[in-house]
Symmetry: C2
Subunit: 335 residues, 2 copies
DNA sequence: CTGAAAGCGCTTACAG
DNA sequence: CTGAAAGCGCTTACAG
């Protein structure tokens, strides 16, 4: 250990090595549009930067330019599904195409206020609504707040919300297609999880109404006893009962109870879940479900972020009311 | 919109309002240990900061002090389980107690190199090993690299790795307790997922050996046909077969095939999963599983991070070889 | 097309 | 106990 730890190279080092000024280094490395640089100079700067292993300091750049290229996504700790993960990944890819980098913060490990003393993003994407004081904080810090909600929340400000109705429509539509004429929508206890099935239920109802089918009845249970009570009600209904479950976990619980009751599935009752978790493939019977596609949502929220930051996008895809494919039916043995 | 957008207050504004210098503001707000501040001055600064809604600029602070208070965790996109999420949350809480804030980056949305142009953390925690060039990048940028692996990887550098052996031991131990005397370890195809069951298998073997039980046989399957072949082999074994599954999804798939074969569970074959996912509660029969506790791992990785950053911790809990409780048996109907 | 200079908002020796 | 001043590493008008 005789060699002293080498100081990290700065743009001044690159400038010296390339025989140019620091300004020129900055122009080359940032492709500053208002500047034209001779190919020879550009080449020299690039080579020097490469050889020195130069990495610009994000702190200095952000401090001087007054803008950051970081986008921070706030993720509630309960939102840990592969679907959400994929959503974050897709959003990150879209933003990366426009030079924005993404990081996420799992909420509750530290208050937003503290977080902002360590990192200062250009924008914050929230998957669920922020508290008013959190929004204030962002506004005061000059950080754009983008609403990229993954569920239904009452919200007056413009937001990109995953199309819950579309998902409910997909469930109801499939059951109707398969000849189930009495539709019920069932949701269970959502532990530490504020997502409400309102949008999906609405979508299922709209689908049933448009097809002239019987109205969809909503059930929510809190424990096995109340689920059993709900099931008894369904089994009292005439015709073939189609169960839209809020998610696959709920569907699997319903299925377990229906098995217990000895119900004929899918003869008497059909069940369709939501999410396409792996376990659905191995249930008895194997669960039919909907695989949501968060691609359009990711695109929309990336758009919203870019526009909030004043970055123009040539892509013509509209933000908000996307009518794109957002869900695919995965049919197995329960329908 | 007549009022011009107010400039974000700086420490100079606070100093002016409090009638002190900027240095004093910094001393008060950072509780600089080498400085003693009169209560009156302290009070005045705090009040002024509060009234102005002052938030210090992380960029300026980091640039000047040369250190950041941000820790970035790199998460592979396939690691989306509630368990991992909880691990991130716990690690974040521990670090927050020492003034460090955490963010995570879902890998693959952008290369690490690009990410580091937008954010400059003090340390990076990796849940899986980094590429050599990524490690180089961190070293050159002066960013500490902490290995907080969630699985077994060959790794020569010091790292905190989730105790996989302990988990395998818990599975084998439970099956042995329940009277299953022929143990097998089964793992399925891990889609885009480099985690290998080596450590868990080893743990199961060690447990069986210590108890003087028959050696544990390892199976890995790639599709239904090869799983069925494996099952046929097990069913040819004498005695009661105990199946340790790599995770609950695998266990549920095994269970589905065993049902198909009409196997008596848990009479002839017992199955224990790993993870305690919700769906395990609703399988036929309901799945016995192991709930891993990542608390000790989170504590250890937080320790490792603090020590890499030269932050002393009074807490006496040792890093590395934790013998703490890291898994709990959740017994249901398959054992 | 290129360079000298100012300044972003902090922290930290240093002098009082 | 407090303040004046330097400087972290960039970017960006501005002058040439």
């Amino acid at each position: 250990m005789t060699a002293s730890r080498p100081r990290r190279p700065t743009s001044a080092d690159v400038a010296r090595a390339a025989g140019v000024s620091r300004a020129t280094v900055s122009f080359v490395l940032n492709d500053t549009p208002s500047q034209t640089i001779s190919p020879a100079t550009r080449e020299a700067v690039l080579r020097a930067a490469e050889e020195l292993g130069y990495m610009p300091s994000p702190h200095a750049a952000a401090l001087r330019s007054g803008r950051s290229r970081l986008v921070l996504t706030l993720v509630p700790h309960w939102a840990s599904s592969p679907t959400v993960m994929r959503y974050l990944e897709l959003t990150g890819s879209h933003l990366a195409e426009h030079g924005l980098l993404t990081a996420t913060h799992i909420e509750r490990s530290a208050p937003l206020r503290d977080l902002l003393t360590a990192v200062h993003p250009a924008a914050v994407i929230s998957l669920v609504p922020l508290e008013p004081d959190e929004s204030d904080l962002l506004a005061r810090a000059g950080i754009a707040e983008v609403h990229g909600y993954i569920a239904d929340f009452p919200d007056k400000t413009p937001s990109v919300t995953l199309n819950q109705q579309h998902m409910g429509r997909a469930q109801a539509g499939h059951l109707l297609d398969r000849g189930f004429d009495r539709l019920v929508y069932v949701s269970g206890p959502r532990i530490g999880h504020p997502v409400r099935p309102a949008g999906r239920l609405e979508g299922a109802r709209a689908e049933a109404a448009e097809r002239g089918s019987l109205p969809v009845v909503a059930f929510s249970y809190t424990d096995t006893a109340s689920l059993d009570a709900a099931i008894a009600t369904w089994l009292g209904l005439p015709g073939r009962v189609g169960v839209c479950a809020f998610d696959d976990d709920t569907a699997l619980e319903v299925l377990a109870r229906l098995r217990e009751h000895g119900t004929d599935i899918p003869g008497r009752v059909g069940v369709v879940g939501m999410d396409d978790i792996r376990a659905g493939e191995f249930s008895e019977p194997a669960l039919t479900t909907i695989r949501p596609d968060l691609g359009p949502q990711a695109r929309a929220v990336a758009h919203a972020t870019l526009s909030a930051l004043g970055i123009s996008v040539d892509d013509e895809s509209p933000v908000g009311s996307t009518t794109a494919q957002v869900a695919a039916v995965v049919q197995r043995a329960t329908t």
